[in-house]
């Protein structure tokens, strides 16, 4: 995405300004709804209702339609995600090479579950993805943009411990 490298805006107004900039760049074309929502999500890290309502107004679309699209695609989040989004691949290759025990270990480590995906301190989110296309390295997990291959439960937990230690530093 062309704005992918732009740092996430910090203040509420800066985020909102980013949304209007995104809308303008896409000519407020309702057909661009998916990329618009993708970019808006980068600014907010999720899709707040009010922002979806604003996008709907700006694109002259029914809010139900925007909500329908936002809930159809797996990438859109209706709740804030953690600072570190861990995507564990559960594609076929990873599955037959035991990705689920890694998931179980990570969830146990962070006190998360199928229903609870983000830690209370908004630090970690754990998701599964159907395939990262790095099957040769199965099992694979993604921490934000970084790919980590040939994982097992203990290396995965160690990775999380490493992040925690780094975050604990002042």
């Amino acid at each position: 995405m062309s704005t992918a490298c732009a740092p996430a805006p910090a203040t509420p107004h800066a985020k909102f300004a980013r949304v209007t900039e995104i809308l303008d760049r896409h000519d407020r074309d309702p057909a661009r709804l998916v990329p618009i929502l993708q970019e808006v999500q980068e600014a907010y890290r999720y899709l707040p209702q009010e922002v979806m309502a604003f996008v709907a107004t700006a694109l002259d679309l029914p809010p139900s339609k925007v909500f329908g699209v936002a809930t159809f695609y797996a990438h859109f989040a209706l709740e804030p995600k953690g600072k570190y989004v861990i995507k564990l691949c559960d594609g076929t290759a990873c599955h037959v090479r035991d990705s689920i025990p890694i998931l179980d270990a990570l969830r146990a480590k962070l006190g998360l579950s199928e229903a609870k995906k983000t830690t209370d301190d908004q630090m970690f989110t754990i998701e599964t993805v159907s395939c990262l296309g790095a099957c040769g390295l199965a099992p694979v997990m993604l921490v934000n943009e970084d790919v980590h291959g040939q994982m097992n439960p203990s290396t995965a937990v160690a990775l999380v411990d490493g992040i925690k230690a780094k975050e604990a530093q002042p």
């Binding site: 995405m1 309702p30 057909a31 661009r32 709804l33 998916v34 990329p35 929502l37 993708q38 329908g68 699209v69 159809f72 695609y73 797996a74 990438h75 859109f76 559960d90 594609g91 076929t92 290759a93 599955h95 037959v96 090479r97 993805v129 159907s130 395939c131 990262l132 296309g133 790095a134 099957c135 040769g136 390295l137 199965a138 694979v140 943009e145 970084d146 790919v147 980590h148 291959g149 040939q150």
Partner: protein
């Protein structure tokens, strides 16, 4: 890009300049920068090479540019070379030495031994099954047994250089198509080649083009379907990462053939590197004037836009993909009308898979006869497969249609992997081919020549090319349940058979693995499976039951073991697997032995106990009783 500033990009002079630049390299260090190698630290290895070459006082070329004149060692990156588990991969040219699993620490030694001394570092070379070291790709069975056509340049050329692509003969066929060949001629040529869609269905590409070509309309579209969603498949990712311009050239040829004015690449967002490379390639091709208002001086326009998917497997289906580009929920609609008649924005549209499009310039280059000389009569050419699972060599492979499973699993794949050991046929249980739309092949199919028609004949399909090898310790009901979990989660929810059928099939499989089903469940599974197969709206729905129906047919005994004997032969299904006692933890206190209601536990006091799996009824009493957690 060397000619960015000049008015018009010339393919031939760009290629010549690139050639001149290449000829000044004394050696080339090519580091694989596919997703796999990158995650293993390929860029750090590249930087280490640059650093150590400079430290060693050797002349270095960072960028291949025509205007430079000095000689030196070029350090560059390539796309995915397919052998991901051995990454980061480093190739030294022209010596043709391949190093595997190279770390930053290995780099000084390579620089001294190979770049300065011209000698290979043996310990970093691939070790063959007999223990011998392999020098380059040609000696490694994984590569030697393949026929890499569409993948030939992947892992060789710099995917971020349009000049490098032109140097391999790139964009010549697009130029020929636009300048010299008629639209019908192109469709006929592709029809004559027998090229079939590489994305799954295997529909003849030429006929698909022709259907769109004959439609009236000023505005038509060619869409590259790069929404590779099958779990366990990454062929398209590798092509886009390794040779993105080949996809663009394919789209340009298709555009000429069908009369398209605009192109779209609908690309899976889970592939950030592929997204980056394709965007870069499109931008470079635009800047070069290859894409734009005046393609090859014909006065006709063709442009390409890239759109990222947002996480929906169903968008790999043509009409759902179109809905997604148009800003809707990606739900398929009934066909007819077909996209060739009413596609994007209701206008004539052709949708081709990445690999299909990348194959097109190659077919034009080699000619129909050469293409048809590979593969089988009904399925000419080669096909890429993602070879994964319990196999020694995992990675991306390309073989001609008609190759057998035995060749793929044992010759290229190096055999079955079980408990970390290389095993032979005795450990082979099945190959799942075609992903969530496909089925299983077993030992009896090991010598079946694989092509579109033979696979369909045995209830499987080529699909996009995921090939997952499974050893005898794999539970096939667990595999079926894995795919059903996937299709249920990815069903768009529109049509009743797929939405309700996948949900019920999963519920039935859940019951089976939990030991709560009786024999009647198998008939119900088959009945619902057939309903979903026949009555679903789209192709993905129609094939969603395949993994279940295929395992029901091929592994009936395993299902019966689960539902009648309440036993999982592979010991994967927890509820159906008798507990075992860890001899290291057991102190022989006899507590579990006493509590077992059927007397299935034996052992002397203070000696580790053993559970008799045949007698055990899996009540779990021993597990809760054991204070040492030795029973599990």
């Amino acid at each position: 890009m060397s000619t960015a500033a000049t008015a018009r990009y010339e393919i031939d002079s760009a290629a010549a300049d690139y050639d001149a630049a290449l000829s000044r390299t004394t050696r080339r260090v090519v580091i694989c920068a596919g997703t796999g190698c990158l995650s293993a630290g390929a860029l750090k290895v590249r930087d280490a090479f640059r650093h150590h070459i400079e430290t060693a006082g050797l002349p270095i070329i960072v960028e291949l540019r025509a205007e430079d004149h000095h000689k030196g060692i070029h350090v560059g990156t390539s796309g995915c070379q397919g052998f991901c588990q051995q990454g980061p991969l480093v190739t030294i040219l022209p010596d043709n030495i391949l190093y595997c699993k190279v770390t930053v620490e290995d780099v000084p030694e390579i620089v001294i031994s190979t770049l300065v001394g011209g000698n290979p570092v043996e310990r970093l070379q691939y070790q063959a099954a007999d223990g011998g070291r392999c020098r380059g790709q040609a000696e490694i069975p994984f590569y030697a047994q393949q026929q890499r056509i569409v993948l030939q340049q992947c892992g060789v050329i710099d995917p971020e250089s349009i000049d490098a692509y032109c140097h391999t003969g790139g964009y010549r066929q697009a130029r020929r198509a636009w300048r010299e060949l008629g639209d019908k001629e192109l469709c006929d040529l592709v029809t004559a080649s027998g090229l079939r869609g590489r994305g799954g269905g295997g529909f003849p590409t030429g006929r698909k083009w022709e259907a769109c070509r004959i439609q009236q309309g000023e505005r038509k579209f060619i869409i590259c379907n790069a929404d590779e969603g099958d779990p366990g498949a990454f062929m398209n990712r590798s092509v886009m990462e390794g040779n993105p311009h080949s996809v663009i050239e394919g789209m340009m040829i298709a555009a000429k053939a069908i009369g398209a004015t605009e192109g779209w690449v609908y690309l899976r967002a889970e592939y950030p590197l592929a997204v980056k490379r394709v965007r870069r390639a499109v931008a470079d091709a635009e800047r070069a004037g290859l894409l734009g208002p005046d393609v090859f001086g014909t006065g006709r326009s063709f442009t390409i836009q890239v759109m990222e998917g947002a996480g929906a497997f169903v968008c790999g289906e043509e009409t759902a993909l179109i809905a997604s580009i148009e800003g809707h929920r990606g739900m398929p609609r009934p066909k007819p009308p077909f996209p060739a008649q009413k596609g994007l924005w209701g206008l004539p549209t052709t949708i081709n898979n990445v690999e299909t499009l990348a194959m097109v310039p190659l077919i034009l280059g080699m000619g129909v006869e050469a293409f048809r000389s590979r593969g089988t009569k009904g399925s000419p050419g080669t096909k890429t497969f993602a070879l994964t699972g319990h196999v020694v060599n995992t990675g991306l492979i390309e073989v001609p249609f008609g190759a057998t499973l035995r060749q793929i699993v044992f010759d290229i794949g190096g055999g079955v992997l079980m408990d970390g050991k290389v095993c032979g046929e005795e450990a082979f249980k099945a190959v799942q081919i075609g992903g969530p739309s496909g089925g299983c092949l077993t030992k009896e199919h090991l010598d079946l020549p694989l092509d579109y028609d033979s696979l369909r004949g045995v209830g499987a399909m080529v699909g996009s090319g995921g090939m997952v090898v499974m050893n005898t310790k794999t539970c096939m009901i667990d595999v079926a349940r894995f795919f059903m979990t996937f299709t249920k989660a990815e069903s768009c929810g529109k049509c009743v058979p797929c939405r309700e059928g996948t949900r019920q099939m999963l519920a039935m499989l859940d019951q089976i693995v939990e030991g709560k089903a009786d024999e009647s469940v198998m008939a119900r599974l088959a009945e619902v499976g057939q309903t979903v197969q026949i009555a679903s709206l789209c192709g993905l729905g129609k094939t969603a039951p395949s993994p279940v129906l295929s395992t029901l047919r091929l592994f009936k005994d395993e299902y019966l073991a689960h539902v009648v004997d309440k036993r999982c032969p592979a010991r994967k299904c927890k509820a159906l697997t008798p507990p075992t006692i860890d001899a290291h933890l057991c102190r022989g206190c006899m507590a579990c032995l006493k509590v077992c209601p059927v007397g299935a536990i034996h052992g002397e006091k203070k000696q580790p106990h053993v559970i008799d799996a045949e007698k055990c009824i899996k009540c779990g009493a021993c597990i809760t009783t054991c204070k040492l957690k030795a029973v599990a």
